[in-house]
């Protein structure tokens, strides 16, 4: 039987084999005409899946007011780029500005009006209809108005410019409350105050870095966070390589190397708080060495007598030779410019320091000159910028009022004092005394969490408005911001909210504020503007102008030098020169280190912390992402026996936080530096419970002359907790190991 089976098996196999072969052949033969699908290694000509449209509007990620163009495809915003025709950004844009898309499409946006149903601070909010919420507020305010208690209504906003600012003012004015104030942590109030003293002009002038030959920056991170980074960067690029055979030089004076410090040719780490003194020391040499010989030379030498190089050197811990050399360069270079900002203008001697720096500009004679300080005349545009920045003093008054129970309704818009102010201010506690807190906001930040009613606002990419850059660019300019996409959720532009409140409150308000929407209001104002400038321009002309303005996103009169460049007399500056050393909170014995908080290049003062792109953006100098850290100089770290990743407890008189240590070579020994921006307890999934907020460490100190918060005047000590925490960063080894990566050794340049 096995025989048969064996034979059969073999036969089966044979038959199977033949069958298989036959099958393959057959299938091959019938599959002749199959088309080959060739992958598109090179896409076909004229193949584009859709047409993109660009809308010009204004960036709202910081106070610079860059013009932006937003790329729209199928009604969705795809990319933000600088508006090429806008004088501030000139087609360029920083990381923060480009991350505006994360604001628009942020998963944690507030999508409908919310109420906390009487349980404040619990973080529980329940949806509520617009009508109901607006009626509630309107009736409340209306009653106060009738009782002539409108002053019990307060409006606190972040940085607001253009006609929205005017709208707020008008609204509060008509209510009869003069308590509308703005607070923006990054606003250089001290500098403004100093300029008022030095130049008698209450505004931020235009710093013409572009044409400068020597830029002497005292703490101002003009490339990263100071006033108008993108515009400064453009200027910097031109100053460096834009002029054939003329490469501008930059010197940065600051205890911790910032982005600008890294770009600078010289980085001078003066003892914290003595930057102003250094400026005076330089001024002293300028006068004594005869680099300056104006008519008022004698007054200068008198007032600068005390600041001899030796004395200054002792105070600032900068070698005398170094100071002299700085002075020589500053005195001899064609266009020398000195600017002050950052920590320099955040000590208890903020204004004094800024004035000292202004003195340098006086002595350099760069006022009104190219490569110097150019003053914008204030009739640039009807909506004058930045005048309502209350500064710290305003906040303190507000807190006082709240504590005194003088505030019934607090309207907070786009401002987060609880996060960006030290606890010492007591803002959070004062809120408890306020019966009704209304937040007009797109995100549930710390302050919004405390509100009773949350009115979700459109983001700036969904809103109408206009803006006047502050500082201006040397000639009259204003930008229009327009919605680039349809409103995503059940939210309203803040302007529309105010207008509808006005309507509901009644009284003279509806009369005085007849506009239905912000758009109407803005257009109305621009019509007036147009009529004022083009004498008696007809309406159809205006329509054309308006269309053009909308397309351009900006209106301006290049070449028109604003006003006659008055050169302010030096007398006021001379009179204002003093040298109070910055008063640090905490004794040197208990707190050997100086706390140096600095604005994060990506998160700024924390407003960017809810944007994933910025959270994942390596910090320019440390490459750290996600979470915060405390920087120590290698020497300091060695003394304290601290390695990278050791969790430190940073203590100050004001409080203490736990952060991992990072060894940072470009930091003055005896200083512990911490980036501001992380440490949110709310503000969405990307920001919540990440890192620490150095503001919790800052002692409540005030600059005596501007009343501004002296957030860089706190001493600290660090303790190694022994815990470890991985610092997430992209850097491997930050030394070239002799590999010629940054260019060949033999130096062409």
């Amino acid at each position: 039987m096995s025989k048969i089976s064996r034979r059969d098996l073999l036969q089966y196999i044979g038959a199977g084999g033949i069958g298989a072969v036959g099958g393959v052949l057959y299938s091959e033969s019938i599959e002749r005409d199959v088309e080959l699908i060739i992958p598109q290694v090179v896409p076909p000509e004229d193949y584009s899946p859709g047409i993109a449209t660009w809308y010009n509007t204004v960036c709202n990620q910081c106070s610079a007011g860059c013009g932006i163009s937003v790329r729209i495809r199928e009604g969705k915003a795809k990319k933000i780029e600088g508006n090429p025709v806008h004088p501030v950004s000139q087609g360029r844009l920083c990381a923060r500005g480009q991350s505006g898309l994360n604001v628009l499409y942020n998963p944690d946006r507030i999508r409908e009006p919310l109420t906390n149903a009487g349980q404040r601070g619990t973080g529980n909010f329940y949806p509520i209809s617009w009508d109901e919420v607006l009626t509630t507020i309107a009736s409340r305010i209306g009653r106060l108005k009738i009782e002539n208690n409108a002053s019990r209504v307060r409006l606190l906003t972040g940085r607001v410019r253009g006609h929205l600012d005017e709208l707020f003012a008008q609204f509060m004015g008509l209510l009869g409350s003069d308590h509308y104030q703005q607070y923006d942590f990054t606003y250089p109030s001290a500098l403004k105050a100093a300029n008022k003293i030095s130049f008698g002009i209450d505004q931020l002038p235009y710093y013409d870095i572009k044409n400068a030959d020597l830029l002497l920056s005292f703490g101002a991170d003009y490339l990263g966070t100071w006033i108008s980074p993108v515009h400064h960067s453009l200027a910097y690029g031109h100053m460096r390589q834009g002029r054939a055979g003329r490469r501008g030089k930059t010197v940065q004076v600051e205890p911790r190397m910032s982005l600008s410090g890294a770009a600078a040719d010289e980085w001078v780490a003066a003892r914290p708080g003595t930057e102003g003194l250094l400026a005076l020391g330089i001024a002293h040499i300028l006068v004594s060495d005869g680099h300056y010989n104006g008519s008022d030379r004698d007054q200068w030498s008198d007032v600068l007598q005390a600041y001899s190089p030796s004395a200054v050197s002792a105070e600032t811990d900068i070698s005398e030779g170094n100071i002299r050399q700085l002075a020589r360069e500053f005195g001899t270079s064609k266009a020398a410019l000195a600017i002050a900002g950052g920590a320099t203008t955040a000590g208890t001697n903020a204004v004094a320091s800024a004035v000292a720096v202004n003195a340098l500009n006086h002595l350099a004679g760069n006022l009104g000159q190219p490569g110097g300080i150019i003053f914008n005349s204030d009739q640039a545009f009807s909506a004058t910028p930045g005048t309502r920045q209350a500064g710290m003093q305003g906040i303190l008054d507000l807190v006082e009022a709240m504590e005194a129970g003088e505030v019934d309704v607090l309207l907070v818009h786009d401002s987060n004092p609880i996060f960006s102010l030290p606890d010492g201010v007591g803002f959070r506690q004062a809120l408890d005394k306020v019966p009704l807190i209304v937040a007009l906001s797109s995100f549930r930040d710390e302050t919004t969490e405390q509100a009773d009613l949350i009115l979700p606002t459109n983001t700036y990419l969904e809103s109408w408005g206009d803006d006047v850059p502050d500082p201006g660019v040397g000639f009259p300019v204003a930008s229009i911001s327009q919605p680039v996409v349809t409103t995503l959720y059940d939210t309203l532009p803040v302007g529309d909210i105010i207008l509808s409140l006005a309507r509901q409150i009644g009284g003279e308000l509806p009369m005085a504020m007849p506009w239905r929407t912000m758009e109407e209001f803005v257009k109305e104002r621009w019509r007036e503007e147009y009529a004022m400038r083009e004498s008696g321009g007809a309406d159809q002309d205006f329509e054309a102008f308006w269309q053009a303005a909308l397309e351009a996103g900006v209106w301006g009169q290049p070449g028109v030098m604003t006003g006659d460049q008055i050169v302010p007399s030096s007398s006021s500056t001379i009179a204002a020169i003093t040298n109070p050393a910055s008063q640090f909170a905490g004794s040197e014995t208990d707190y050997p280190l100086v706390l140096h908080p600095y604005l994060s290049a990506s998160l700024l003062d924390g407003r960017g912390a809810n944007l994933p792109w910025l959270q994942e953006l390596p910090d320019p100098l440390t490459s750290v992402v996600y979470g915060s850290w405390a920087e120590l100089n290698p020497a300091t770290a060695e003394d304290l026996g601290i390695r990278e990743g050791d969790v430190l407890e940073v203590e100050t008189p004001a409080g203490s936080v736990k952060v991992p240590a990072l060894i940072f070579p470009a930091l003055r020994p005896g200083v512990v530096a911490m980036p501001i921006g992380q440490g949110h307890t709310s503000y969405g999934r990307y920001a919540r419970n990440r890192g620490a907020n150095p503001m919790d460490l800052v002692s409540m100190q005030i600059d005596d002359r501007s009343g501004d918060l002296a957030w860089a005047a706190t001493r600290a000590r660090v303790r190694n907790t022994g815990e470890r925490l991985q610092i997430i960063k992209t850097d491997g080894i930050t030394r070239t190991l002799g590999r010629q990566i940054l260019g060949p050794e033999n130096d062409h340049a």
Binding site: P39, V41, E45, D46, Y47, G50, R73, E74, A77, K79, G82, R92, L93, C94, Q98, S99, L101, P107, L223, G224, P229, S233, L234, Y236, G237, H238, Q241, R247, L259, S260, A262, E266, W267, Q325, L488, A601, S602, P612, W613, L614, E616, L617, P618, P620, L621, V625, Y626, N633, P665, A666, R668, I728, T730, Q740, I741, L742, G743, P744, H748, A749
Partner: protein, 257 residues
């Protein structure tokens, strides 16, 4: 395949096939110059690239394990010690080497050199051997260790001109090939044979606040890049490897004093 009809063309064809590099000259030789004296390391380019090319948001955990994807990154190098410490920034992105070490490695032709001198990456061909990334001396190739997702509604921002990559695929800088494509189409639409200089601007170059980057066709002697490449400060990174990169850096200048 179209074969030359007569013998001479056939011979010619084969001579071409045996010619190193194959191309006599690229249609366009896209080149980028980066002036390190202008670059401030502000990282605007990094975000610009992320926005333009649908780079994923990888999240904290994955970042912690070096799984981030940044087609362009800024490298930092310290020189000296306090107080005379200097920081040097250098943007690092795909160098689009003409003799790219990576291309040779791919067994499935997922990466090859196209007629514009671009080092292209074809996602749908990639099987994820990751050899190209190992071979790349600039470490500018990034791998999709996972299929990344966007928290709704962040995905609405995604650029429809650029594909979203799935797990197991290698990706890298494309010199914004979609923009090059568009510029070529436009050029064709208004009957120009060539794309004008400055007409193609990759996202990073476009965003650069200090105008440190320039992009163009180095075949054209009048192009900005061609002029920049003549600068005495011009150099290429890791020259000794003879990868002939298409990115030319201009060394940081020093203040004369």
């Amino acid at each position: 395949m179209k074969w030359g009809s007569d013998l001479s063309t056939l011979v010619e064809k084969f001579r071409q096939y045996l010619k190193p590099g194959y191309y006599d000259e690229f249609d366009y030789h896209w080149t980028m110059t980066i002036d390190l004296d202008r670059c401030t390391g502000c990282e605007a380019c990094v975000v610009a690239c992320q926005a333009e090319n649908n780079l994923p948001i990888v999240g904290e955990k994955r970042y912690a394990r070096n799984r981030e994807i940044k087609w362009i990154r800024i490298e930092r190098y310290w020189e000296g010690e306090y107080p005379d410490v200097k920081m040097g920034f250098i943007p690092m992105l795909c160098q689009h080497c003409d003799d790219a070490p990576c291309e040779i490695a791919c067994p499935v032709f997922a990466t090859y050199h196209n007629q514009d001198g671009l080092n292209t990456q074809i996602y749908n061909r990639c099987i994820g051997t990751r050899t190209c990334a190992v071979y790349c001396p600039y470490e500018v190739r990034y791998f999709n260790w996972f299929t990344y997702t966007w928290d709704e509604p962040l995905e609405q921002q995604l650029n429809p001109d650029v594909t979203v990559r799935e797990k197991g695929v290698m990706e890298k800088c494309t010199f914004c090939i979609q923009r090059i494509r568009l510029a070529k189409d436009n050029a064709k639409d208004d009957d120009r044979r060539r794309v004008r200089d400055g007409e193609v601007v990759p996202a990073c170059v476009q965003s650069c606040p200090t105008e440190a980057m320039a992009f163009g066709d180095s075949n054209d002697p009048e192009a900005k890049v061609s002029k920049m490449m003549k600068d005495p400060r011009a150099y290429t990174v890791l020259e000794e490897l003879n990868t002939t990169p298409s990115i030319v850096y201009l060394k940081k200048a020093h203040a004369e004093s």
